[in-house]
Symmetry: C2
Subunit: 658 residues, 2 copies
Amino acid sequence: MRGPHALQPIDVPTLTAVLDGAHAEVRNQVREQLGAHAAMVHEAPGLATDDYRERVLAILQDSAQQGLTGLGFPKEYGGAGDVGGSIAAFETLAFGDLSVLVKFGVQFGLFGGAILHLGTARHHDRYLADLVAGRLLGCFAMSETGHGSNVQALGTRATYDVDTREFVVHTPTVAARKDYIGNAAAHGRMAVVFAQLEVGGEQHGVHALLVPIRDEQGGVLPGVSTEDCGHKHGLNGVDNGRLGFDHVRVPRENLLNRYADVTEDGTYASSIDNPDRRFFTTLGTLVQGRISVGGGGIGATKLALTLATRYGLRRRQFGAPGADTEAVLMDYRAHQRRLLPLVARTYALHFAQADLVDRLDRIFSADEPPAGELGDDPLEAAELERLRRELESDAAGVKAVATWHATAAIQTCREACGGAGYLSANRLGMLRADTDVFTTFEGDNTVLLQLVAKGLLTEFRDSFENLDPIGTARFVAAQAVESVAEKTSWWQLAERLRDAVPRGDNDNAGLLDRDYHLALFRWRDDHVRSALARRLKAGIDAGDDPFEVFSRCQDHVLLAARVHVEYLVLEAFDRAINAQPEGPTRAILAALCDLATLSQIEADCGWFQEHGRLSAARSKAITAMVGELCAALRPHAADLVAAFGVPEELLDVEMLAG
Amino acid sequence: MRGPHALQPIDVPTLTAVLDGAHAEVRNQVREQLGAHAAMVHEAPGLATDDYRERVLAILQDSAQQGLTGLGFPKEYGGAGDVGGSIAAFETLAFGDLSVLVKFGVQFGLFGGAILHLGTARHHDRYLADLVAGRLLGCFAMSETGHGSNVQALGTRATYDVDTREFVVHTPTVAARKDYIGNAAAHGRMAVVFAQLEVGGEQHGVHALLVPIRDEQGGVLPGVSTEDCGHKHGLNGVDNGRLGFDHVRVPRENLLNRYADVTEDGTYASSIDNPDRRFFTTLGTLVQGRISVGGGGIGATKLALTLATRYGLRRRQFGAPGADTEAVLMDYRAHQRRLLPLVARTYALHFAQADLVDRLDRIFSADEPPAGELGDDPLEAAELERLRRELESDAAGVKAVATWHATAAIQTCREACGGAGYLSANRLGMLRADTDVFTTFEGDNTVLLQLVAKGLLTEFRDSFENLDPIGTARFVAAQAVESVAEKTSWWQLAERLRDAVPRGDNDNAGLLDRDYHLALFRWRDDHVRSALARRLKAGIDAGDDPFEVFSRCQDHVLLAARVHVEYLVLEAFDRAINAQPEGPTRAILAALCDLATLSQIEADCGWFQEHGRLSAARSKAITAMVGELCAALRPHAADLVAAFGVPEELLDVEMLAG
């Protein structure tokens, strides 16, 4: 049996440099900032909600005054025009207090991002400098009590009053109040409100507009009602609240009018004719938030794994017979198996995330290009549009997978530290609670995966631009015949790929061959997708109720999305490894990739056997190999987490003291 | 394809009566008590730690004054002598605030239980009435900073001073301080301290003795040091703390001397000669705590599932095309798949738990029998001992499986309620955080499963009474040859059982046949166990280092325990169903059992395929059948959770209002 190669010692700074990538400088700046917040991190669990909120606000404002919060904004407004860097900074902030992270996300990512991407010069000139500097705090008021995921069905109304040239913003029902909104309970002075736009009696769908909610002294403005969401499972340093509007009037100019505008005389005009497409373009600006949340989840996971791995390397329990001391937990295979595949998968997700950030950076740079350079040519614009859609879909998928990973991994870290893991002084409890909502906000993971699957099935066709999952079934039935045929040829391709995989005489041949892993994951991606298309079509063709057809296949829909993301993650890791020169760093990354991938195959070995892609013997061989890879990586456990680069001040916890 | 039978409407009171079983009256009493605590339940998330602790204490003392806390204690001390009832009450308390639950557990289960079971009349007469009445609050001081799981290696010392006829209790190192101890930070006045007993220079292993720690006014006594564990991830209404002893002297009579005593002149004597066996007998009193924690986890899961199911039945999102209203979440197959198998498994675990409680009740009744009735006959005593060991092992296994289920199920419930699930007002966040430590306390789940596996491999032989997992490998190597042979015959038996299973011509034959499920689970139990024994033996026979052999097989050890517990759970559910008359209640239980079992097989379909027990087609058929069972149970979802009998006042949360 060919086992994993013996691994040479890790050069930690080199590995950190590989992880930090293009944004090493920004990441290191944030690491330094975080040191200054260490006290706050350790005190947070005991703070009363009001104190906690004020502490978090103070950190935000302090950072803004030091000029550290404008990274993603244009230079003319006090920013640095570095979108990729801003996300790298956000990911690194996740080593600190997560209420601070989320407050930053609300203020600069959501509120600031909406004004930047949905507004035009008049909004930029008036608000961006203030918001970057933390003088204008704001809300991103999209979710409502009645509608979180189905944004197209929001109930808040914005009706144009041609006489006064104002929009009248109104909350018609309790279900339509804005809910879970960060900065709404206490600190926000303005909100980007998503509402159904009505002009001259005609409905134009969801649009965003700026609505002041508090005056300079923090008093709630007339017509606005606010309510505190109260205590939350986590993130209690963020003041989430509810907003209601009783016929609140704002000037016409408050409409964020990048994609649509209303003239003074009440004429609605948009550069995007199709209302669904307009809606999705508007929502497309959420992509940065989703990528940020995914990155934040990965960052928090790195922190948790660093804590748990270090604890596992010092905590002793039971031991070898006759030995003077008990064995450290990490010397138990079961403990290795609990933690090391999570470390490996965190590396894998890191590279998938880095890939998204690169693509976002390129697209956003192309999006607002120097005059005449790109985007004027319609063909290039179409290509940009395609890249943007693909990014949105991939970002949704990686966000879902990465935040579920965070939830599971941090939970395992907590348990792996036993009672110590339960004490707030050791950070893991708060990490679990704070990150818990990551699977829900910026898009519920289950809904996001359905979005991914829809993109896969429809190849992002315009005619299918609507969130309604049922539509997927109908679309596939109506139009996807040739698409299914295409998928069949992919399948054949995959079969050929499979035949190319070295199998040899024994069950272990090629187990550590990354091309085999890639072929297997790609085959699964193609197979699940084409089988799903056939199944949806068969149901509709048989005349079954489309809702019933969709519902029956829903797990298949989710699986199609998930396996697609797994393929993306592996591809990204593979590219990152191939970009490294031969040597110990490349070897350790390859071993991590093997472990991450084989663990995934092991977890899905039932599916692979069902589909004739793993024999029983080979499936068992994979389980054995996962164990061997854990053993091979065990001596490097400390270095593997050290390379994440969590500042020592943030690891200064009771259970690791002395 | 034979699908699940159409199910008739559920009669909720009948189903509740089946669940409540023999302890319906006690459960209903607690349900009424809990109504009075509803306000506290809803206010808890916002309480400062000190307030919260005092509120919890007040509830405990109030309950004690009403005579509600003595259920498990003898009548002469204000109790009811109803061990089973006391655990049923504890399970039901889990619908309320879990800090209250755990404070009850510390005071009456651990502290009270230790005095009851490890002490003798002198301790009972002096303390039981006061502790039942909540006048004497106490601690169960076993865990130390350095040792949680490996209790035999505790560092606290109790040295007999023959001159003064006192024990000197001492904490020699920081690692030996008592840690995570409930009631230690604030309310406890006395502690049952587990310490290494030394008499006349001779070590006798871990024994328990009573050490006063605070005076009547709450002042810490000389020589005792206390420290607050501070904020915890959950259960902040319980005052966990650390205790240190600086040569603290207690009278000789403070030794809890049921199994061993020291005479005035310093002679050590025990009714149990073998020190390991004595230690395990002492620890055996923990069984009640473990059963309680498992039951508490199941109770909390019932509450969470009730909340999430009700929310899923009212929350609408997206929907069928052309429909006026959006669809309720529970009409989506993916949502059914998320929640209904968890409901089914909670039923399954309920019956496994009820079985443990019955056995505990019988054993503890036999344990302190009316004079001459039972226990005098040595043969009966041996049988009692065997039953007790088996119960300890099964209780450890069910505790591990049930508390991991609680962690996963409550997490899923939180996510299934989206943002609403994250607000503390809706209870799920606190439920998650409070129950999180259930997988750790009263025995870390991973360690408990190793204990189960050890019992399976050694059939509870005396010679192998020690917690050290490495010993397992050596024991198996040294003595288990004929045991392995026996297991081979079990295997053959299982093969015959398998052949007896109706398979028919298609892949669905027998899928809903409970005898088939039982045969499959039993075969897996036998197979994994015997394969493990062979593997351990082969490693030792080959001369490999025993620690290495054990570590290599550790996942196999854990699997052996887990699949054994799965078999126990299915057996218990099967018996409970068979005890019901034919009719709608029996039919619904059978459908739940099918769903619980097939979901487990689906989750492990890789293993069953690897071992030739599922064909690919049959594995796929199981996945399809799980979906069908979910659809069949969907119309009954509200009733299935209503039957858990959570008082309405405890379900009066924001997201279910209006």
